[in-house]
């Protein structure tokens, strides 16, 4: 199986869809000649031309709004919001329009819109270019939200997002783009709403998203040296949540740590904890632990950024707390 980067995997999914389907097109700020601020769409303009790989003005509201219109008209647009911090500018379109039209039209309208965005700390982007705002969007009925952590997953999930008839937000992470991983020769769709067990274990389940999946795998390897067997599960899709898969893992291990880079307070992990305590109450042998960023704007200074954002040691400490070792 070929090994590609996360960035290449995104590009592969976009390219394959563009190649296969005339209804698919991509648009966003600087995605054409420049290939996107993160280089994800490099080469697409050459292959598919300016009609299907479109630069936009700097207006996130317009980018999403145009995408919604095109989707309603039967296209399968993939729009890019350069930083998820700027999703805030397009929230009216996402929350009040994209999420609502299918419901309000009694199913007559479909919104097969994909919104790609990226964010995350770890490279000193400062307080306005590194937030993790997925919790804002999983709260809105009518939206699907995915947050893949590996090349294989991002390729398969982006594909499913493009071919879903509902608006899907795809969260990517800046630090994941260079991450390499094996993928199948042929692109394989990954169903939205299915979690993935990346590592099997018996003592504690770490439910992690984005870069924290990789932190969790490192922490699990360290914990193993102390005789703690850690299962690492990536929900991959945040909305709809694979409750069954997560609960099954926790019922097996009896302990849970939920880890994401977003601020812990009121975060996605709070909902997961609520699901677990309700559905696996009688299987829990320890309080559910949450690992996330401290409740603070992200600092620019690298040492301060590190302090705010969860590290491998934080995941490991939470693992140890659950097993009392």
């Amino acid at each position: 199986m070929p090994e590609i980067t996360y960035r290449e995997a995104v590009r592969d999914a976009l390219g394959t869809a563009l190649r296969r389907d005339e209804d698919v097109f991509v648009m966003g700020e600087d995605i054409a000649e420049m290939g996107g601020s993160m280089g994800v769409t490099q080469g697409l303009l050459d292959e598919f031309g300016p009609e299907r790989v479109r630069n936009t003005p700097i207006s996130e509201m317009a980018i999403v709004g145009a995408g919604i219109g095109a989707a309603m008209a039967g296209m399968r647009p993939v729009v890019e919001i350069m930083y998820e911090d700027f999703l805030t500018l397009s929230l009216e379109q996402i929350v009040n329009q994209a999420a609502k039209h299918r419901y309000m039209s009694g199913g007559q309208l479909k919104i097969p819109l994909t919104i790609r965005t990226q964010g995350g700390a770890g490279w000193s982007p400062g307080a306005q270019h590194a937030q993790q705002l997925e919790a804002w969007l999983v709260h809105v009925p009518g939206l699907k939200v995915v947050y893949p952590s590996t090349p294989e997953d991002v390729r398969g999930l982006l594909w499913s997002a493009i071919y879903d008839d509902n608006p899907v937000i795809v969260f990517e992470h800046r630090l994941l783009y260079p991450v390499r991983g094996e993928v199948a020769e042929e692109l394989e769709p990954i169903p939205i709403g299915k979690s993935r067990v990346l590592r099997e274990g018996n003592d504690v389940t770490v439910i992690a998203t984005g870069p924290l999946v990789h932190h969790a795998l490192k922490a699990a390897a360290e914990a193993e040296a102390d005789g703690i067997s850690v299962e690492v599960v990536d929900p991959r899709t945040l909305q709809p949540l694979d409750e069954e898969g997560l609960v099954a893992s926790v019922k097996k291990t009896n302990r849970a740590v939920i880890a994401h880079e977003a601020v812990t307070r009121m975060g996605f992990g709070a909902e997961v904890a609520a699901v677990l305590q309700y559905q696996a109450f009688d299987w829990l042998d320890a309080p559910i632990e949450r690992v996330g960023s401290k409740f603070a704007p992200l600092a620019f200074a690298p040492v301060m950024e590190q302090f705010v954002v969860p590290q491998v040691e934080d995941v490991l400490a939470a693992i140890r707390r659950t097993v009392g070792k």
Partner: protein, 396 residues
């Protein structure tokens, strides 16, 4: 720096104590000398006063047993944080592992799972306990803050002796009553007593004069209710002064001969057998003995004895006369060398100089540690007791 509240040694030989209740909660202000918690030792249940003034920062042992000297709480200034020692490191787990059932066990560094009546247990532990019929109250938690986790229940279920033991003849359920500290102490001490080679001597005394003395004393001072037991205490103390070789304790190295006759009186308290002590009975008047005896017995019945009430006895009287028992043999109360078992006073035919009389007679049996006291010495002592009971004025 916060002050550590350590489990105190409340009496000789006390090695562990069980915290039964905190009278202050975390965060509460505590004055020096204010009652802080209740402790159940192998002898008594008593309130312990705070040695420090400040805020009760953290309770490390909400309830349960700990060895003497163990830190059970911290008192300091408001807002101060304390570094609680965490549970033993995993490497220590094998040693700690067998410690599961609460009775008679301690795990240094871990607290009990109970907290103000609420047992701290994980949901999984609760479900397992429910399914396997394990009583969580009998399980010691090894999780964070003493929480009972699934592993503890599994160990507890495995350790439980397939209770209740099969007893085909008995219909109905056998009730399993957990051993109290006192019950365990009684068992331990009396089993130890069994190892001493003992002999018994029995005499009967004419109680005519002793009864007259009791009646007269009550008449003179109705407020102080003098009893036969007080006369016995006074008489035994006087006899011990005359036979100091009986007022002893045997140890491996030496015989300990005591300077005063501290008379223990066996009391059937609600919580079990206790032996409060009337110290220096030889130096006290009968009324004084009655008053002191009345107070300690009252405290014993109210379960309010302090360690001081129980310490230092050199000789014990056990009186079952009030139950109509004619005579019985008492088990030694170690390390004391002798114990006097007293039966009921009853009218019996007595032959004196060939004539038959009816006299109030009382039969006493002295149990003696033969390692410390020989037969003749014991007999001599008992003869003195008999003589003093029959002529109490000689005990003055």
């Amino acid at each position: 720096m916060a002050n550590e509240v350590k489990l105190p040694r409340l009496g000789q030989g006390m090695e562990a104590g069980t915290v039964t209740r905190w009278l202050k909660s975390e965060g509460e202000q505590v004055a020096k000398g204010e009652p802080l918690y209740e402790i159940d030792t192998d002898k008594v249940t008593q309130e312990v006063e705070s040695d420090f003034a400040g805020v009760l920062l953290k309770i490390a042992l909400p309830e349960g047993e700990a060895p003497v000297g163990e830190t059970i709480a911290w008192i300091g200034e408001a807002g101060e944080t304390v570094e609680a020692p965490s549970a033993p490191p995993p490497s220590a787990a094998p040693e700690a592992a067998p410690v599961t059932l609460v009775p008679g066990t301690t795990v240094p560094g871990t607290g009990s799972s109970a907290n103000g009546g609420r047992i701290k247990a994980s949901p999984l532990a609760r479900r397992l306990a429910r399914e396997r019929g394990v009583d969580l109250a009998r399980i010691r938690g090894t999780g964070p803050d003493g929480r009972i986790v699934a592993e503890d229940v599994e160990r507890g279920a495995a350790a439980a002796p397939a209770a209740p033991a099969p007893a085909p003849v008995v219909s109905g359920e056998i009730e399993s009553v957990p051993l109290t500290s006192i019950r365990k102490t009684i068992a331990r001490r009396l089993t130890a007593a069994w190892q001493a080679p003992v002999f018994q001597l029995t005499v009967s005394a004419d109680m005519t004069r002793a009864n007259e003395l009791v009646a007269k004393a009550r008449e003179l001072d109705p407020d102080v209710r003098v009893t036969v037991t007080d006369v016995l205490a006074k008489v035994c103390a006087a006899a011990l002064r005359r036979h100091p070789d009986v007022n002893v304790a045997y140890t491996e190295d030496a015989l300990l001969r005591f300077p005063t006759a501290n008379i223990g009186i066996a009391v059937a308290a609600p919580q079990g057998l206790v032996v409060p002590v009337v110290p220096s009975a030889e130096a006290r008047s009968l009324a004084d003995i009655a008053r002191a005896r009345g107070e300690v017995v009252e405290r014993a019945r109210a379960n309010k004895l302090t360690a001081a009430d129980l310490d230092g006895g050199t000789f014990t009287i056990s009186n079952l006369g009030m139950y109509g028992v004619e005579q019985f043999v008492a088990v030694l109360n170690p390390p004391q060398a002798a114990i006097l078992a007293v039966g009921a006073t009853e009218d019996r035919p007595v032959v004196e100089d060939g004539e038959l009389f009816v006299r109030p007679m009382m039969t006493m049996t002295l149990t003696v540690d033969h390692r410390a006291v020989d037969g003749a010495e014991g007999a001599d002592f008992l003869r003195t007791v008999k003589r003093l009971l029959e002529e109490p004025a000689l005990a003055l």
